[in-house]
Amino acid sequence: MTETGAPSWVEAADSQTRLGFGLALTEIAGNDESVVAISADTVDLIGLRGFLQRFPDRLIEAGIAEQNAMGIASGLATTGMRPFVCGYAPFITARSMEQLRNDVAYANQRVVIGAAASGVSLGVAGGTHHALEDLALTRSLPNMTVVVPADAHQAWHATHATRDIDGPVYLRLGGRMAEPAVTPVDGPFRLGKADTLREGSDVTVVACGCMVEPALRAAAALADKGLSARVLNMHTIKPLDRAALLAAAAETRGIVAAEEHHLAGGLGGAVAELLAEHHPTRMKFVAMPDEFAIVGPTDKVRERHGMSARHIEEACLALCA
């Protein structure tokens, strides 16, 4: 515990989901000898330097070879180990997609994928290093659980929660930048149960990951204009919280889905798939359009491509007009 009363990992996580994951993984490894981390030359990206020092035998360095890293994880899992394969979101999904599908999902092995630098967090790196299709890739696979923690606190708790998941898990993590806290330090993280971060009766914003905080800002701005916006942190993309979504569809005038991901196949798509069949609802989507992102600082890239608090607010206003 620190002077403020918060657990010591909170300060070390530095408000970054990738570090929340790495710190939780290191703690889990201290309690469970079957835990093994597989790195694709991503020890520092995931904050695993401490893991490496404490458990050098259980940090498998696969090098810059995501396909091999994913296959190794599957093989380890068959022997009763608990592998966490760590990498850059754009590469640990798309590059090793067939290994993820066949060796991990099809063979239904308990492999956790910690995927940092998702979305446009590597803004200046350009389109080769953006991960805007990873949710589509992972959530389309049977057996997968897909989680997008909204902040470092949630990343910590979600990483611990993988203990109870009997199958593969995709944990989408952010980049090397602070992500404002929107959930309590002590959780709780309830897999498959959305956090209602703000009650509201006019419109609902369903957001995940780095779009949760802008959703809260948009809701505050809307309140000033007399509109009551509900904000759901849909941290679990699969399995979706059907009850929360059906309630929102029934109780508010429309739903805005907000995510840092292509419009195709992400959170918004998942919500629309559910509601179109079970409770047709007016929707707006705040997501990456069908284009590759420009190069630039992450916040400016998000703004340029329509993924910001302002865009969420405008979408809500349009639904309530």
Partner: protein, 277 residues
Amino acid sequence: MTSNTEAQLQGLRDRALRIRRGVWRALYAAGSGHVGGSCSAADVLAALYFHHLRVRPEQPDWPERDRFVLSKGHANAALAAVLAQAGFIKEDLLDRFYGYDSPLGMHPDIKVAGVEMSTGGLGHGLSVGIGMALGARLQGQDFRTCVMIGDGELQEGSNWEAAMAAAQMGLSNLTAIVDYNKIQQGDRVEKTVDLDPLADKWRAFGWAVREIDGHDMAEVVDALDSLPLVPDKPSMLIAHTIKGKGVSFAEDTYLWHSNAVTVEIYKQALAELGDPE
């Protein structure tokens, strides 16, 4: 090195013949299938399952069992035939090969007793095998992991990621066997994307390598008895084989990589394989 008596070797040759009959039986039931790469692997599979691997068919999930991964998953008819012969699965399951909702499709499924990994997408098995070998090392277990790879499959780059990593990790409890029958789906390997000099490539990647005649049971058994070939390195056995081995019209031709198996063809094949029935 143990000496294997002629009677033991003949017993393994008989096992291999039964695997080949099982392959044809399964693929006749299926109507078609991968005869060539299944029959080329039969002798090595017989030596593995009836001489080398420590497995318990009555307890397929025995934690200390040796692991075998058929990376060239399209040879599933051979794997099914050997698993049936060893007693992991019932022999008459071969007659449901490709059947509706059958556990035996074109490629191995981990849900089948004795199958260690679902394979079929090529270039996957060696990485999975590394994970199994690491699992043994980390848990202080002495089980061994063996991966059979096809030759055409080595054109997949993921194998070479795995080759580098296994050497880096010094996985002496890992063996790869290339079923080098020289033919892939559409042509000879050398006319597609050549692998040679194959042994030199693996040596350069840090493996201990031995080349064997994959149909000479004495050589196959002697090589398996020699594992690991050297301490602290993964072992590679390059088994030179003949595609479709055992049935004259199916041998050494890409036409029998996968082909239809009619009742006439099936009868001819069994006649050549000396079907006791």
